[in-house]
Symmetry: none
Subunit: 212 residues, 4 copies
DNA sequence: TATGAATGAGTGTTCATTCAT
DNA sequence: AATGAATGAACACTCATTCAT
């Protein structure tokens, strides 16, 4: 049963890897990346200090690898869910719901993504950039689709729209995380969509394109 | 002339204090809060290491104090400028222009506010919260005024509006800072205002209140 | 054919043992004893880390055992060659030639013997002492023979003579190894013998026993 | 008294520096360079760990700096003593006496010079090379002088002579240090000089230049 | 016998903070 | 008030060794 053994061993390794990366998310979130020692992560994962280095190159790599791991899981789910929908507004709402749902269900993950990841270190930012861009692309794809289908206004740049969307979600999650007041995050979807879709103004005459 | 001497001495002290706080902004921005040593701040300020501790309690306090200092200057200016204007849309645009202008003119300050300040350490975040709330209040005051005057829609919570506004600006500045592509930040004001005021949708019928 | 199998197995083991010891000499020489990891030795020998511990007790034991192994080979050859010769001067020259030849033909071995072995750790030095003394005995035996045959002066202690002989060779090999300037080591035999046999002085009157 | 204060401070610093370097010699000698922790050196010097780094760049630099320090002291004394003498044989004997005397009076220093310094690390060897060459030059200068004055034989290279001289002394000190049998090192001067000056052979006819 | 994943003790170095001057 | 030399706690990472397979 060599093959079965080998398969098992590979599975074991993948499981331990996930164990470590998820322990890192939790530990970094609770103590803060810089204040969190590798020893704490190891304890959280239930392995020895040295074992961490069999799976990642170092502390920085652990942060980045853990990020790719969890964002990968999120995007896999996102793609599957969004594929089912047919109009950009629904897609945008679903993206936002999913984003908030994930955060709400795992505050450690939320803390990790909102704060621990925002490291000023250029090396870290560069490493994080790639998966982050993929997420931004998901948003921009919806915006583009909306423009093509005539749902969203073509006069505004896709980038600007993406920034408003992502910036709003991001700020909302951050504010929610700090208050930690029960699980109300999902309730923010509707008002946020309201503002993003229709804007602040009453009796808005879109033919004007601008208020002056 | 005891009094004059004393006044002079107090002024001297205030000047050195500002010197130190601005040196901290610059040094933290360039090297990153955690990687920046107190010695570097001291050198930047032109004082000895120990002298810093005559003005702040420690490194963390230096970060927070420096933040209050620069945000105080910004808000002082903001209040003066906004007082002149009479409608909420102009006020909102002016706030955004000012925000972007300050960032654009002082990239060190921008890096400090956008990244160095976002420390995951709970103690730091708590300390930073107070001055930050004051800034949020400026935005919410404009939103409230807009609602009262019938310019902004009452159906959306002030908080949600504020989050979209601040989140959009914040995300825009962050993205700009990273690209560091010349001084184009001011050009983002119009498209951002466009989205925020009118929303993403074309032919928006505001009587519907929502897209479904 | 149990016996043949067993013999074969024993031979196999001896071969692997030699493999490991020679890999250790090479690896220690190239990376330095302290900087060389057991993993590197294992790789060099083509076995797994754990396998090393089936042949030696630990890293220190590996160093000492490897030394005994290579010095044993050298002395075996030395004895055979010297047996053929009949006068102490020839024997001394042959010893020196052999010493230099071995070093020259295997720079890894030379580096190992000249530097990696000179560990300050008392335990290591003590362990190395035994085989080293055997080599010293070869030199002293030649000196003694020379004294008995009336070739060398009896007035000087055998130990002192041995120290001059061994110290000179050792210093010469070290200097050569550092310069690594082609294979000129054999050319040092003649001048070295010249000094050792006749001394530095011109017109030496041996009846004086000393220069004053 | 500004000047006096400053002078005093500089003196203090030089004293502490010497304290640290001499503590390093002692600590490295007793525990072995690699096994000796910086903490041990600090304790030996009576300072905190961090203080060491105010005087040297790191552990490796400490080794090299300590070596330069002690060899500098030795050579200063050597030059002064040798200047008084007029013939190369006396100079050679004085050099050897001094070498042995210094080692004998400070076994820690001897252990440091004989073993701790012989690190295989190329960086260390390169750093140590410069002061070591200076010492070699002292020996070669005496040899050259001896050749010019017609005392030493011109037919043998200066380098070869130096290697015999230095190698013999080195080997003698090493052997002595291991036995640690009282303070007999000085007694080795005469027999060593005997061999080096007159060679091993009885009835040596220098006109032959070689034994065959 | 052989493997190699897992272990965890051990250490050079940094740097915020203090305090004698 | 100002200095800056001294402090010493804290930590990421390595690697010899073990042991279940």
């Amino acid at each position: 049963m060599k093959k079965s053994e080998k398969t098992n061993s590979i599975e074991q390794k993948a499981i331990k890897r996930a164990q470590i990366l998820e322990a890192a998310v939790k530990a970094f979130s609770r103590h803060g990346y810089h204040s969190c020692t590798m020893n704490r992560v190891a304890k959280e994962a239930g392995v020895a200090d040295g074992t961490l280095y069999l799976y990642v190159k170092g502390k920085e790599d652990l942060l980045v690898t853990a990020f790719s791991h969890v964002l990968g899981l999120l995007m896999e789910r996102l793609d599957k869910e969004i594929k089912k929908l047919d109009n950009p507004v629904s897609k945008l709402r679903r993206l936002m719901e999913l984003h908030f749902e994930v955060m709400e269900n795992d505050p450690d993950l939320a803390g990790f993504l909102q704060f621990q990841l925002r490291q000023p270190d250029p090396a870290i930012r560069a490493a994080i950039r790639t998966p982050l861009v993929q997420y931004a692309n998901r948003i921009e794809a919806i915006v583009e689709e909306g423009k093509e289908k005539g749902t969203f206004r073509k006069s505004i740049g896709t980038r600007a729209m993406r920034r408003v969307i992502f910036g709003s979600m991001d700020e909302t999650v951050s504010a929610w995380w700090f208050r930690q007041d029960g699980n109300e995050l999902m309730k923010k979807v509707a008002p946020l969509m309201e503002v993003i879709l229709h804007g602040l103004l009453i009796n808005d005459d879109k033919s004007r394109k601008s208020e002056h």
